[in-house]
């Protein structure tokens, strides 16, 4: 039996190894794409053989789940940070939100792919790993409602619009910035339709942190 301090130390080491594995997997995914991600390569990068990974993860899908869970978690943090820096004007805030979603998805292709779960045949994220993403959407919905948009449907349309531009960017213009340029125009269309007021020339910054 292990006593308490040693149990803790072992748990830490385990966690560290798990993190190392997930980091290695992301490194490979970023360098060569998710399609090139093999357990043997991941294992090699952390100085192991493939079967040893099964001491830390139940399957390859469990590794995907950890990868995506980590990304969603970081995403949630970045959204929380964004909210503190959000301008006061509703339309400006909507645009900043939109640009944030877009940049996040575009800057880091493999991380975007997690939003389109069909990229990995047979993989379904676990509710736990997906939770931060759900919270982000709920927060975004709440924030958008606070801007004066009362309809869930209008919010869903905004999300669809941004998601669609992201997809088109990846399909037609990866590397370019045509669809990033369309984002402001698209959000303006949407803002007019839902009745957000026109933007001030010089928007002041808002919300000192509590």
């Amino acid at each position: 039996m292990l006593d308490a301090p040693n149990r803790d130390r072992n748990a830490e080491r385990r966690e560290a190894t798990r993190r190392e594995i997930v980091e290695a997997a992301w490194a490979i995914a970023r360098e060569s794409g998710l399609a090139e991600l093999t357990l043997r390569d991941v294992a090699a990068r952390v100085g192991m053989r493939a079967p040893s990974l099964y001491s830390h993860f139940a399957s390859k899908n469990a590794i995907y789940d950890a990868m995506f869970g980590q990304a969603w978690s970081e995403y949630e943090s970045s959204v929380l940070a964004l909210e503190d820096a959000l301008p006061e004007h509703p339309r400006a805030a909507a645009k900043q939100y939109g640009r944030h979603f877009f940049d996040f998805a575009v800057d880091d292709l493999p991380r975007h792919q997690l939003m389109n779960q069909r990229v990995i045949p047979g993989f379904e994220p676990s509710p736990e790993s997906y939770a931060p993403a759900v919270r982000v959407l709920e927060r975004a919905a709440a924030n958008v409602r606070e801007l004066g948009v009362t309809s869930e449907d209008d919010f869903a349309i905004l999300i669809a619009l941004i998601g669609g531009l992201i997809n088109q960017h990846h399909a037609n213009d990866p590397g370019g910035d045509r669809y990033a340029g369309l984002l402001d125009r698209a959000i303006d269309m949407w803002a007019d339709a839902v009745g957000l007021p026109a933007e001030d020339p010089a928007p002041p910054s808002r919300k000192s942190a509590p």
Copy 2:
């Protein structure tokens, strides 16, 4: 050497076999999903062994290409048929277009996946198989322009909007119809923004075939 009639007959047989293989592949994809599509299963369904498929296709990706090429081709035909039945009112026509895109993508999940090419790691469609899809987009652009939309960007935004709703449908609401219901509202938003006139109460039908 073969004389001309026999060469033709052989070519026909070859084409028939290719079609049979592609049909079998679609059947499996529809029943079990693209992830479950294996060459051994495809071959079994047409009464062959897997390596024999290589007499007709250079690789599994070549089979995907044929599958998607066929789907794009049928899609082009359905768009041509749609255009004859398009109502005269610009906003009504835009909605009918939008609903058509949406229904096509939603009714037949595996066929939709071809639009999101990232589903099959390592697969890129050939320009030839993809040509009908390009023509459909060009026709759609021309038709939308004819409705009075002069900006490529506004057209791109419409496409993004519809594509985004389709993606959300597949991700969040497969089987339901929430996003189908949002489509009209979304297209109305877009139509107002680009200045299409309000819809007539009773739109007459248009364009007898030439």
